[in-house]
């Protein structure tokens, strides 16, 4: 059992939990993920690690309340325990030797983009951060990104905060202003990563994306998380989750991510009904 040491809501639909998991905390690196099960009969859900504190033995996760599993997770409070918490899984993001990097985060993907931003910043790399949200109410981790980068550009779809527009516009502008990046790291919705890759391909800038496909065991057993990368079948759980974005077949990944859409919608409604009943 893994105790929830702290829980806070970052915006109306995104929350952060600090979990006591000393073995995981000892080894966690930016880019790696964990799998949790809230209760004994819950689904296994992968989430990328948002932060870790080796001394305290804690690992942070940031989740968006989108489906039945995250709604169920959100019913737990400080002092409660997660039934299962396994990790760190996947390969850590490579940061060695990078001198100048632009990190592009979209929505809740910013939570995953922050640890690598901090790591790069700490090792003396010049980091620019482009973060995008739908609107002002959904903005998270703004100060954290500011503190971990030389320059931060805030974008919102509706212009209610920062600049109006998509992250790709800001990225392209930074490139055109003469910033020569060794690498771009893009973490966010599949469609965002796809378009970031289209921009960087044009300029020949290596781009790393963090993939989050449907997954069950997360240890290299089930093969559910397979992706086509450079024409080869790769498994996000053991080969990734980071891949060369210019080689990823995003259209296929987007199609596969909808495999259980009907089931998920139904489960979400069930979970909502259940929660409503509990409130009454």
């Amino acid at each position: 059992m893994f105790e929830i040491v702290k829980k806070e809501h970052l915006n109306p639909t995104v929350a952060k939990m600090v979990i006591h998991a000393p073995f995981v905390a000892k080894k966690a690196e930016p880019g790696q993920f964990i799998i949790f099960r809230a209760y004994e009969d819950s689904e296994r859900v992968p989430l990328t690690i948002a932060d870790y504190d080796r001394e305290a033995g804690n690992v942070s996760i940031i989740y968006q309340i989108v489906g039945a599993a995250t709604m169920e997770l959100d019913t737990l409070s400080e002092g409660d325990c997660l039934h299962d918490f396994v990790g760190p899984l996947g390969v850590a993001t490579h940061t060695e030797g990078l001198k100048k990097v632009c990190v592009v985060g979209g929505g809740v993907g910013c939570a995953i983009a922050l640890p690598v931003t901090k790591k790069l910043h700490a090792q003396g790399c010049c980091v620019h951060a482009v973060v995008g949200f739908r609107n002002k109410d959904l903005v998270i981790l703004e100060d954290e990104f500011k503190n971990a980068s030389e320059k931060m550009v805030m974008m919102t779809d509706d212009g209610s905060y920062g600049e109006k527009g998509l992250v790709t516009a800001a990225l392209e502008r930074l490139i055109n202003e003469g910033n020569a990046y060794d690498e771009v790291i893009a973490i966010g919705p599949l469609v965002m990563m796809k378009f970031v890759c289209q921009v960087t391909k044009k300029y020949g800038i290596k781009t790393i994306v963090s993939m989050n496909p449907i997954m069950i065991d997360g240890t290299g057993m089930c093969g559910g998380c397979r992706l086509t990368v450079g024409g080869e079948t790769k498994f996000a759980c053991v080969d990734g989750p980071d891949f060369d974005g210019h080689l990823v077949d995003f259209d296929e990944a987007m199609r596969r991510s909808t495999m259980y859409r009907d089931f998920e919608r139904h489960e979400r409604e069930e979970e909502c009904n259940l929660l409503n009943k509990e409130v009454k």
Binding site: D41, G220, V238
Partner: protein
């Protein structure tokens, strides 16, 4: 006691095929007491014991059968448990026809003695009647680590615990049991039986740490730093193989590992499971092993109207246990043998809508000794299906290989061991089961666990002299 000279085995009582193909309850119901005693009296108790030599864990088969014939069921259990840590499991899933029963003298002129069925009966009898809890052996003060709580790891842990070692099993998943819980379905191996065997190990003092992925959370070298004096790697088979044909990433293409894990480990067959599974109408399972049979029969139970086994060789070469093939046929699984898929077809939503296949014929024997399948020119045809399940084997998991310096692996990525005792290229590190052999059977994995336990004991004793 009169010997039973019936040339045929006492048939196994089972659920009716048209009832059981709609539920996940156990198919084979087990012998009654009278059936077991009568079947046991078919054994000739021959002095050469060919059956024993064909058993990967060398159970003294005539001795346990003699106990059953004399109605000493607890005595029979003692004989079994001296050699096998999981008799209730082996009685159900061993390929007896190629092992013990394949060598049975009674099989020359008739059917062999139902050794597997008797083993199962004795183990079940013991479970239902035994009131003693296993005793925790006196500690010898030495610690060993086992990686993986599947059949190989559990066997090794059990044998080491009996010798007085303090054993910790590190399991990657949230439940112990390995393939016995994520792979083999409930209708073939009820999970309560697996749990009971695991509870027995825990009562003997074996510690099982779940949610621990060795190679990630801890390395083998760190296990030694933590005071474990020897390590047994039994991490299992690994990643599923795909055929590399067009369309394998369409929605509705599963690996058998994923399909069975959803159903067995995550209980997707139960009405309120939170893990989704596709409820298909027409399913093609590619492959001919036990895993393929399990996937096909599970698909049928989830309500599919038509389920095909698509296999590139003929019925004679199917690697699955004979009983699984028979059961599958009885349950209405359609065998499309001498058939090989060349493309998965998808509709406008990216969902599977069929598979394009070619007919095959058998040529000369290949390296495996089986006749090589050759494509018949111009034989293409399409099978309409909405789901395709790939069950064509696995390739080894890289997590331990890539994080253990000096651990030798072969070109396939399997861990290399020295002879039968499971010693790897690293001192104090032993390995066995599918991590060494590639996908094989439960009993071979158990045999490897047993041999490794013996070798680890000798190693630690020698070191501490």
């Amino acid at each position: 006691m009169a010997r039973n000279m019936d040339p045929k085995k006492c048939p196994m009582p089972s659920q009716d095929p048209n009832v059981r193909n709609k539920n996940f309850d156990e198919v084979a119901l087990g012998y009654t007491y009278e059936m077991a005693v009568s079947e046991a009296r078919r054994c000739l108790n021959c002095p050469k014991k060919p059956c024993v030599s064909a058993c990967p864990v060398q159970i003294d088969i005539p001795a346990f059968i003699a106990c059953v014939a004399n109605e000493d069921m607890e005595g029979a259990y003692k004989v079994l448990s001296a050699s096998s840590a999981l008799p209730a499991v082996c009685g159900r899933v061993c390929p007896q026809e190629t092992q013990c029963e394949g060598k049975c003298v009674r099989g020359i002129k008739g059917e062999p003695v139902g050794i597997g069925r008797l083993e199962r009966f004795v183990a079940d009898w013991h479970r239902e009647h035994n009131t003693e809890t296993p005793v925790k052996p006196e500690s010898n003060g030495h610690k060993v680590a086992v990686i993986g709580a599947g059949p190989s790891g559990l066997t090794c842990a059990g044998d080491m615990a009996k010798l007085g070692y303090q054993v910790t099993i590190f399991e990657a998943l949230h439940t112990a049991g390995g393939v016995l819980v994520y792979g083999i379905p409930e209708f073939r191996l009820p999970k309560t039986i697996v749990q009971k065997e695991i509870d027995g190990l825990k009562a003997m003092g074996v510690e099982i740490m779940t949610n621990m992925v060795i190679g990630k959370v801890l390395t083998i070298d760190e296990l030694f730093e933590m005071g474990y004096e020897a390590v047994y790697i039994a991490s299992g088979a690994g990643l599923p193989r795909f055929m590399g044909i067009p369309g394998e990433s369409l929605k509705g293409v599963y690996s058998a590992n994923e399909y069975l894990t959803r159903i067995n480990l995550m209980k997707a067959y139960m009405p309120h499971s939170k893990t989704p599974i596709k409820h298909s109408k027409k399913v093609a399972v590619v492959g001919g092993g036990n895993v393929a049979m399990d996937a096909a029969r599970s698909a049928k139970r989830l309500g599919a109207d038509e389920v095909y086994i698509v296999y590139r060789r003929s019925m004679n070469e199917l690697p699955a246990r004979a009983e699984e093939v028979e059961h599958a046929q009885e349950e209405g699984i359609i065998f499309k043998t001498l058939t090989n898929p060349v493309e998965v077809l998808g509709d406008e939503n990216g969902e599977v809508c069929g598979i394009r296949c070619v007919e095959m014929e058998l040529g000369e024997p290949d390296a495996s000794g089986r006749r090589r399948p050759i494509v018949k020119e111009g034989s293409e045809f399409v099978i309409d299906v909405d789901t395709m399940i790939m069950s064509i084997g696995t390739s080894p998991n890289p997590l331990i290989r890539t994080t253990t310096p000096g651990l030798e692996t072969n070109r396939h990525g399997c861990i290399v061991t020295n002879g039968d005792d499971g010693l790897t290229s690293r001192e104090g590190v032993y390995a066995g089961g599918d991590a060494v052999t590639g996908a094989a059977t439960v009993i071979l994995a158990m045999g490897a666990g047993k041999n490794a336990a013996k070798a680890m004991h000798e190693y630690i004793q020698g070191k501490n002299k």
